[in-house]
């Protein structure tokens, strides 16, 4: 265990130099790079915290927006529902009105159809009745009935009112028209003379009388003097009988 002062002194100096060398070439570069990395990490952490804080803030803001949006949506939904209800009510009222109008129109149309149908039915019934009666009367149309109707004709001619007589007179004098007498059965000479005398006597003038047979009259007579026509036959009676019934409808 020897001790050398030179070695002791040089060792102290050497160690101090070694400290400088390591500090210059090892500690400072490595510590600098470590500090720089730590600074970068701290900066990254600070940025991350700042971003996190911003994210939290944005999240809260977004949640607030969502709540407001939800409220606005509910309010808009309620308003829309109210407007839809109002529109629905209005449309329903219009639809009911149209329905009522359509119902009234259909009811009127149906009523009109019904009336027309009833009218047709009645006309048909009247026609059938008239046909039936005319067929029945055609079977009853006999010379005896013709005789009775001739008597009624004479009675009617005798009871003509003044207006009819004036019309006949004007027709005979003004138009010099012959008188057309149609009968369902041929008239006897007696009947012709009787009828001529009845027709000519009131007017004190002579004019021709044309006697014709017309079996469509069924029974009876039809006398035509110009515009004046006397219907004294079953056909026209049935027609007169059926027309008032139709007119009543």
């Amino acid at each position: 265990m020897d001790f050398d002062w030179t070695t002791f002194t040089l060792e102290v100096i050497n160690f101090l130099i070694l400290i400088w060398i390591l500090k210059r070439f090892l500690y400072q570069p490595v510590l600098n790079i470590i500090d720089k990395r730590r600074a970068d990490i701290d900066q990254a952490m600070a940025d991350a915290k700042r971003i996190e804080a911003e994210a939290v803030s944005l999240k809260k803001q977004n949640e607030q927006y969502l709540i407001e949006w939800e409220n606005q949506k509910e309010a808009a939904h309620a308003q829309l529902a109210a407007e839809l209800a109002e529109i629905r009510k209005k449309k329903l009222a219009e639809l009911n009105q149209k329905f009522d109008e359509e119902t009234d129109r259909r009811r009127i149309l149906e009523e009109r159809r019904r009336i027309e149908y009833e009218k047709k039915i009645e006309e048909k019934a009247i026609a059938q009745g008239t046909k039936f009666v005319s067929r029945l009367l055609s079977r009853l149309a006999t010379p005896e009935l013709e005789t009775h109707l001739f008597a009624l004709l004479l009675e009617d001619l005798a009871n003509l009112d003044e207006a009819d007589k004036r019309v006949i007179s004007e027709a005979v004098t003004d138009h010099a028209t012959s008188i057309l007498v149609q009968s369902a059965f041929p008239l006897t000479d007696t009947q012709k003379q009787t009828l001529s005398s009845v027709l000519c006597e009131p007017y004190q003038t002579g004019f021709s009388i044309d006697f014709q047979c017309n079996d469509t009259l069924l029974a009876g007579f039809q006398i035509t003097v110009g515009p004046w026509v006397l219907h004294a036959n079953l056909r026209d009676e049935l027609k007169f009988f059926s027309q008032p019934l139709q007119h009543e409808k």
């Binding site: 020897d2 070694l18 090892l26 490595v30």
Partner: protein
């Protein structure tokens, strides 16, 4: 065992092989650090990761003792650890001896630790406050403080010298007595002992410096109160 053989002289000063070994260690460390730290980047490679790991571990160890002065003490303490590890392990290389197996070397390192304790204590607290703690809790303890300072410095030097020198000596004796390969287990023990002794020396230096500084902190706190 002749460990202080003079290799050559510079004037009146004889340069021993121990000093040459120390220069070699310094040169190797300097070149290695210069090459390793030329291209440092934020994305470290394996070598940079190793260097950063060593320095970060050293800084963390110092921070445990002195959290606020880790960067300030890091060059001194870390250089102690690095130099002592390399110097202790140099004895494993054939034809070389550990510089720390020489009392002159360990005494020089112990003297630097002794001076560092007072330097950091005075630098941070002022000489008056620093010297005051030798008189606390009572001036009667001043001789004991002085003796403590001297003995712990001597113990620091002798502990390291004794352990490293004895390891080399034992290995040499076993080699002489038993044969060529028998000292291998002792050489493995030498590795462990070299690491442990380097750690102990550096940690004791750190504790001594921290003790000086923290005693002044307590003094300052008492003065403030």
């Amino acid at each position: 065992m002749e460990t202080t053989a003079t290799a050559f002289y510079i004037g009146p000063f004889g340069i021993t092989s121990i000093v040459i070994t120390t220069w070699g260690i310094m040169l190797g460390l300097g070149v290695f650090c210069w090459l390793a730290t030329r291209n440092l980047s934020l994305e470290p490679g394996p070598m940079q990761t190793l260097l950063e790991g060593i320095i970060s571990a050293s800084e963390a160890a110092i921070q445990i003792v002195l959290p606020e002065h880790a960067r300030e003490l890091l060059p001194f303490i870390t250089t102690l650890w690095i130099y002592l590890v390399i110097a202790n392990l140099t004895g494993l290389i054939p034809l070389l001896h550990s510089p720390t197996g020489n009392l002159s070397v360990t005494a020089g390192l112990a003297l630097l630790v002794f001076l560092s304790v007072h330097w950091f204590g005075i630098y941070h607290n002022g000489i008056r406050h620093y010297l005051k703690h030798y008189l606390s809790p009572t001036p009667l303890l001043l001789p004991f403080h002085v003796i403590s300072e001297a003995t712990r410095t001597i113990a620091l030097a002798v502990r390291l010298f004794g352990n490293i020198m004895s390891l080399e000596l034992v290995a040499l004796l076993v080699l002489i007595v038993a044969g060529l390969l028998v000292p291998i287990p002792l050489l493995m023990l030498h590795i462990i002992e070299a690491l442990v002794q380097a750690y102990i020396f550096g940690m004791l230096a750190l504790i001594y410096v921290a003790g000086a500084m923290q005693s002044q902190y307590s003094k300052k706190e008492n003065d403030n109160e």
